[in-house]
């Protein structure tokens, strides 16, 4: 019995040891001077108020041809190393990936490599198609519009797996296994259902046509636009030094833990759903180039958003979904772009077509598991920015 007790106590002590992650973060010594906007002071006050109310660090960019540009930061990129957030820090962009992927797909449409009403089964191996719900009937347009009926990957089964191994990296095929042979939620082409599986399949489509989606993103978007602070994270061991740490308020009680290793693993490892880290300035360049027709011919088609169900409008803020583009309308203004919602970060990239205004907001506190933080970021912050601008 004594041996058993000693063994048990030894195992207890051994299992209590944890390694706390300290990020690779560096102070970027950023010296930007994009403070020409007439409402600069109010925007700075707004950011400071947000980093005292739930967000560890945040960067916001507002570009308005009439009123000027404002790019500012508040809070911390690294609490542990006492590094203040600045506009040169790079952020995880989560589902902004979908707009990038949709852009490449629309370029392939422009080049007559594919057509929007082509069936996915014309391009992807039957081995995968046969296991995808509605696999034989969904079109490329259905995938872009998220109207395939395919359930989302990030449901209970994935989440319980995640909480057993939170730094696992997944291939596209491994992620798709979470939706294989499941019942479709609706007929293809009928009902909006946000599902990362749709963009995983579009990523496979790009791989089939271009060989490699990462190289396609680089050669078709990052390099032509000189997005020098935008990276596709391919390996956890190769992350940009200016990447901000990530934090999570696990119990929504104002206690933050550094989950940078988890966030980075997911950015690297949710292949086909994620992967891009970027700066506010680069995301502005991308969104403006897309909106002004410098990347695709069919931007007007991309923003032809069909309404999403009322429950989604209420909980997720956006009211319509086009081709990799959300339509967001908080107080009468239509904004087009995308949200990125993640465990240690949040991202907003929006363009107002009527006023030619771009807003990018990036922050390093997890929104995925917290309705409160999510609401503050995607709804309240945007509403407050609108109030200042208009």
């Amino acid at each position: 019995m004594k041996i058993l007790i000693i063994t048990v106590l030894f195992l207890f002590m051994a299992s209590s040891c944890t390694d706390d992650y300290v990020g690779p973060n560096i102070d970027t010594n950023c010296s930007l001077s994009n403070q020409t906007h007439t409402k600069s002071a109010a925007l700075k006050n707004l950011l400071d108020a947000n980093t005292k109310d739930g967000f560890v660090g945040m960067t916001v960019l507002v570009d308005d041809p009439k009123e000027g540009q404002w790019l500012g930061s508040s809070g911390y990129a690294s609490i542990e190393e006492n590094i203040k957030m600045n506009p040169c820090h790079i952020h995880h962009t989560a589902s902004l990936y979908k707009t990038f992927i949709a852009t490449v797909v629309m370029q392939l449409v422009d080049e007559n490599e594919i057509a929007l009403d082509d069936k996915l089964s014309d391009y992807i191996s039957l081995e995968i198609i046969d296991k995808i719900p509605n696999g034989n009937s969904i079109t490329i347009l259905d995938l872009l519009q998220q109207r395939t009926g395919i359930p989302d990957i990030f449901e209970v089964e994935f989440i319980t797996d995640f909480f057993n191994n939170q730094t696992k990296t997944y291939s596209i095929e491994e992620l798709l296994e979470y939706v294989y042979v499941k019942e479709p939620l609706s007929e293809a082409g009928t009902t909006f259902q946000y599902s990362d599986a749709n963009y995983s399949l579009l990523t496979l489509l790009i791989n089939e046509i271009e060989g490699n989606h990462i190289e396609a993103l680089k050669s078709r978007i990052f390099e032509p636009l000189n997005l020098n602070h935008t990276y596709f994270l391919e390996k956890v061991s190769e992350i940009p030094a200016a990447l901000s740490n990530s934090y999570w308020d696990r119990y929504n009680d104002g206690k933050y833990e550094n989950n940078s290793d988890v966030q980075t693993s997911l950015t690297v490892g949710l292949r086909g759903s994620d992967g891009i880290v970027s700066s506010a300035e680069d995301l502005m360049k991308f969104m403006q180039a897309l909106a002004k027709g410098n990347l695709v011919n069919g931007f007007s088609q991309m923003i032809n958003c069909l309404d999403v169900p009322a429950a989604i409008q209420k909980n997720e803020v956006y009211s319509g979904y086009g081709l990799g583009i959300m339509r967001v309308n908080i107080s009468g203004e239509n904004w087009y772009g995308h949200f990125g919602n993640h465990i240690g970060s949040g991202a907003i990239m929006l363009y107002n077509l009527d006023r030619d205004i771009t807003i990018v907001a990036l922050q390093n506190t997890g929104t995925f598991f917290s309705d409160e933080i999510k609401g503050k970021f995607f709804f309240q912050l945007l509403g407050d920015i609108e109030e200042i601008l208009f």
């Binding site: 207890f12 299992s15 209590s16 992650y21 319980t160 696990r250 206690k255 833990e257 598991f369």
Partner: protein, 207 residues
Amino acid sequence: MVTLRKYLLIFIGLLGVHISIAQDANASSYTKFPLKIAIGNHAVGFPFQNSFNAFNLHLSLGTELGLNKNLKHSLFLSSDLGYISNGVIGSSINLNVDFVYRYTHKTNFFLETALGIGMLNQFHPRDIYALNESDGTYDKISDNGTIASLIGFKTALGYDFSKKTDFPFRIAFSHHFFIQTAYFDLRNFPIMPQSSSNILISYKFKK
């Protein structure tokens, strides 16, 4: 870690108390209350899902109170104090009370099922920081844990040596599935399903 050491001391203290009580009992040749020790693996998931995908130590120490004297169909109240080491969802100390039915076959193999409730105190898996509102900096703070309630069921399959020999010892494989509520967000994630798969031994000390 300071709080965990506090719980470890309580754990050792309870063990000592149990042993001393056990050695003073005089109703029969063995003590009335067996000492039950379980050691195994903890996982997040539904019953038998992900049970051994990662190593997360689970330990528990407990005892049981017989409610009837039927040797074939026994009813018990069981209580245990457990510790779960989990670097993903956070380590925790838990206290459970279960209502147990045990069927013992003539071959001395037994099958148990139990329904129970409990509470746990769960700690962040990493250092935590809070905003110091006076100067806008963050301070590292101590973690006193977060209390949550549990509801769950247990199954066990084992062998009872005491029926055939004069050795009051039972060994079993047990699986405990429980739901923790709430975890971090009552609306989005109202429950955290978890399980532990254990080797369970039960021993009655001599008077």
